[in-house]
């Protein structure tokens, strides 16, 4: 086809006429981190105000906020798992993370609770089992060419049923498992611990290492670059000589690995290896994907940051914690659903609007 010179692309740096308000709006819409930070402040202040006015059933203070962070551990970790998978592009998504948590949780239950393996070994084996389950996803998507939605839907079903069948539908709650609950307790921070509320231990033993490792992986390693590359444009990635299939395969494997660790946390939290741990109710996959989308991850791939996922988790966890106090009885957990749904739709529409007006978020 005959061509002429393509029209030069418009540079978005035309800030000469922008007033302060318009500039702030643009930053908020395009820099997801900024928006999330603002929203967190708004939410926390809002609940503090409600607390001061006596509208809450219990006190919404820093201690409470800190204690509620225990929920952030599995949520943020799975959110990071989804981050990796969605970043890989070509419709990347993982519906099976919850089922992997269930099945790996049973593995952990057997290893630590029934066969009496040392804790460190049980954890390693559990994590590896998660990685293996994730690798199945990776193989189907990267090498066979399954659409990710379908492949992980299928493995969701398969893993979910295996988890339940593997121990005849019963959980494993032997004494070693029950004692694990202690690792979910809150601890005082060293040095300045008396000035600051106690923090759940799981934050340090599981969440923080995961956040750091994933951050380093994405921001500093060659693998991370390749992942962003294939997510941005996997045709160009091929022409540039990047190993597209291998990179994509690893993304799903790493997501499975993280899910394996989440399984350990979940078992400890419930003091029992439950076969339906990750799939009860609506499962763990949906909130994880919500966190990722809220955190600025583009569903088409190539865009997304660890900081976004972490901030999105904080927002949701503290929002949920506040909602729990704002309503009596069961109502609270229901309003959490409303909040999650509304936030997701709002975030998605925002993504759409931003792409149209400003050319995308960062």
């Amino acid at each position: 086809m005959t061509t002429t010179s393509a029209p030069p692309t418009k540079t978005p740096d035309d800030t000469t006429q922008e007033g302060l308000g318009a500039r702030a709006l643009r930053v908020l819409l395009t820099q997801r981190i900024a928006l999330l930070a603002v929203l967190i402040v708004v939410v926390v202040v809002w609940f503090f105000v409600l607390d001061a006015g006596g509208y809450l059933t219990a006190s919404y203070n820093f201690d409470y906020m800190s204690a509620s962070l225990i929920n952030a551990v599995p949520l943020a970790m799975l959110g990071l798992a989804e981050l990796l998978v969605i970043l890989s592009g070509r419709g990347g998504i993982d519906l099976s993370v919850g089922a992997i948590v269930s099945l790996s949780g049973m593995v952990f239950g057997f290893a630590y609770g029934e066969w009496g393996w040392p804790l460190w070994l049980a954890i390693v084996v559990t994590a590896l089992s998660g990685a293996l389950l994730g690798a199945v996803n990776g193989f189907l998507v990267a090498y066979v060419g399954f659409p990710a939605l379908i492949a992980t839907l299928a493995t969701f079903y398969a893993y979910k049923s295996l988890a339940i069948v593997i121990n005849d539908q019963s959980p494993i709650s032997t004494p070693p498992i029950q004692q694990l609950f202690s690792i979910t307790r809150s601890v005082e921070l060293p040095l300045f611990g008396q000035y600051v509320p106690d923090v759940p231990l799981g934050l340090f033993t599981f969440l923080l290492p995961t956040v750091v490792v994933v951050w380093v992986l994405l921001a500093r390693t060659t693998y991370g670059r390749r992942l962003y590359g294939i997510g941005t444009n996997d045709v160009a990635a091929r022409w540039a000589g990047l190993p597209v299939r291998g990179t994509r395969f690893k993304a799903y494997t790493y997501a499975g690995l993280i899910s394996g660790f989440v399984a350990v946390v979940t078992v400890a939290q419930f003091a029992s290896a439950r076969p339906d741990a990750g799939v009860s109710g609506n499962g763990m996959a949906l909130p994880a994907i919500t966190i990722a989308v809220l955190g600025g991850v583009a569903i088409t791939g190539g865009i997304g940051r660890v900081a976004g996922v972490v901030l999105a988790t904080l927002l949701i966890v503290w929002l949920n914690a506040g909602i729990l106090l704002a309503f009596v009885g069961n109502e609270g957990s229901q309003y959490q659903l409303l909040a999650l749904g509304a936030v997701l739709v709002f975030a998605a529409l925002l993504n759409g609007l931003t792409t149209r007006r400003y050319g995308g978020t960062t």
Partner: protein, 503 residues
Amino acid sequence: MAEQAPRLAMRGISKSFGAVRAIRSAEISIQAGRVHALVGENGAGKSTMIKILSGVEQADTGTIEFDGAPVTIAGTGDAIALGIATVYQEPQLFPELTVSENIFTGREIRKGGRVAWAEQNAKVVELLELLGLPARYATVPVGELSIAAQQQVSIAKSLAGDAKVLILDEPSAILTDAEIEVLFTVVRRLTAAGVAVIYISHRLDELFRIADEVTVMRDGRTIGTFPIGDLDVRRIAELMVGGILSDERPHREIPDGDPVLVLDGLGRAGKFHDVAVEVRAGEIVCLYGLVGSGVSEIAACVYGIDRPTSGRMLLRGRPIAPRSPQQAQRNGIALLPANRKVEGMFSFQSIAFNISAGHLKLLSRLGLLVDRARERSVAQDLIKRLAVRTPHERQPISAMSGGNAQKVVLARQLVERPEVLVLAEPTQGVDVGAKEEIHRIITELAESGTAVLVVTSDLPEALRIADRLLVVRGGTTTVEFGPDATQVDVLAAAAGAVEEDVA
């Protein structure tokens, strides 16, 4: 024929894209029932004219008249309503729907609530016969047909809409000779029925078989319209080129030596055959071929994207058979892809990201952690060498002009000093200034010892930088030209009017 208003007349048309003047004061008059060819080099303005006619773009100035009455074509709907149909090279069809459904999508023949399949199908069969396609194609999903057949379905689609003006954009590029004959038969039937056909083609020799008159465009202007009988291939080539001699080039000394890259009898079933090319270190060899000549497939094989089915490739005398771009790179072969947006750019990533993509092992510590300081200095160094206009290496590549973006993708190929650099359409969609700069860079690369193979359909470019120019036509390398070739010679050779060429 009595004097009557032309079916379509464009007068005083100008169109600019930003600072680029694509068309200036162009004029064209299309008569009903005639085949009107539109020729010109890449960048001459042909496709912009077509886009204006089909409503994809709007002219900045000028008027369009349809059957003598002024009309406005503000969008594709207007063009369709007027009866202007365009058939592009990429058929815009729905692969899972049948031919019949594709032709009638949006204007199904209905009876009551349902589609009148029998009636619709009868019409489809009519159209298929007109085009020489078997009637059973009507119920075949379009995705299962060959590209050539799909193109014919596209034509059928525009006919179903009672087109009064049919624009064919490079229709013969992907057709075999037999299929071209069928195409011509169809075109003749159409003109007999009063349809005006605008035929765009690079294949000048074909025009003599089908066109009634020719409009030549050059540098955004319509040079003139001539009855086909007044012309021959050479004359058309001269008009396209404007009789401008290629720039004087300093004669370059090519170091002697064995060729670095040899393609020996290389072939890939259905795409190209018996390709013979040699490139020495420090030499710039151009493969000049039009769309459909097989030239881009040759580049793909050299780089490991495709695999040849016959012949062999030698690198410094050693046979190689890269099975992936990674392997090609390991052999020291780099390639600048033809389609920057789809195959080259990581759109919203930074310049540094784009440059270091694929070279991360080199720019890393322990092969694992990206050495950002090194990446930054490599990027800055290349930005300076290639004169990329940017405040810093962190700027996203999507915010850059075509020329600058192309330089960035080119920079990527230079990170590891390749032995062989293949450049596919190196200045497509690039403004004149950046074009010059990229050509300078290519020449410098050759001078520093790289073996350069340029694959291009831009003739002035090929002539400006090539030490040797090989014309690729019909899937194989044909004539070779030295540095003294003129544009007209090469154009004529590529269009098939070479004396040595036995038709």
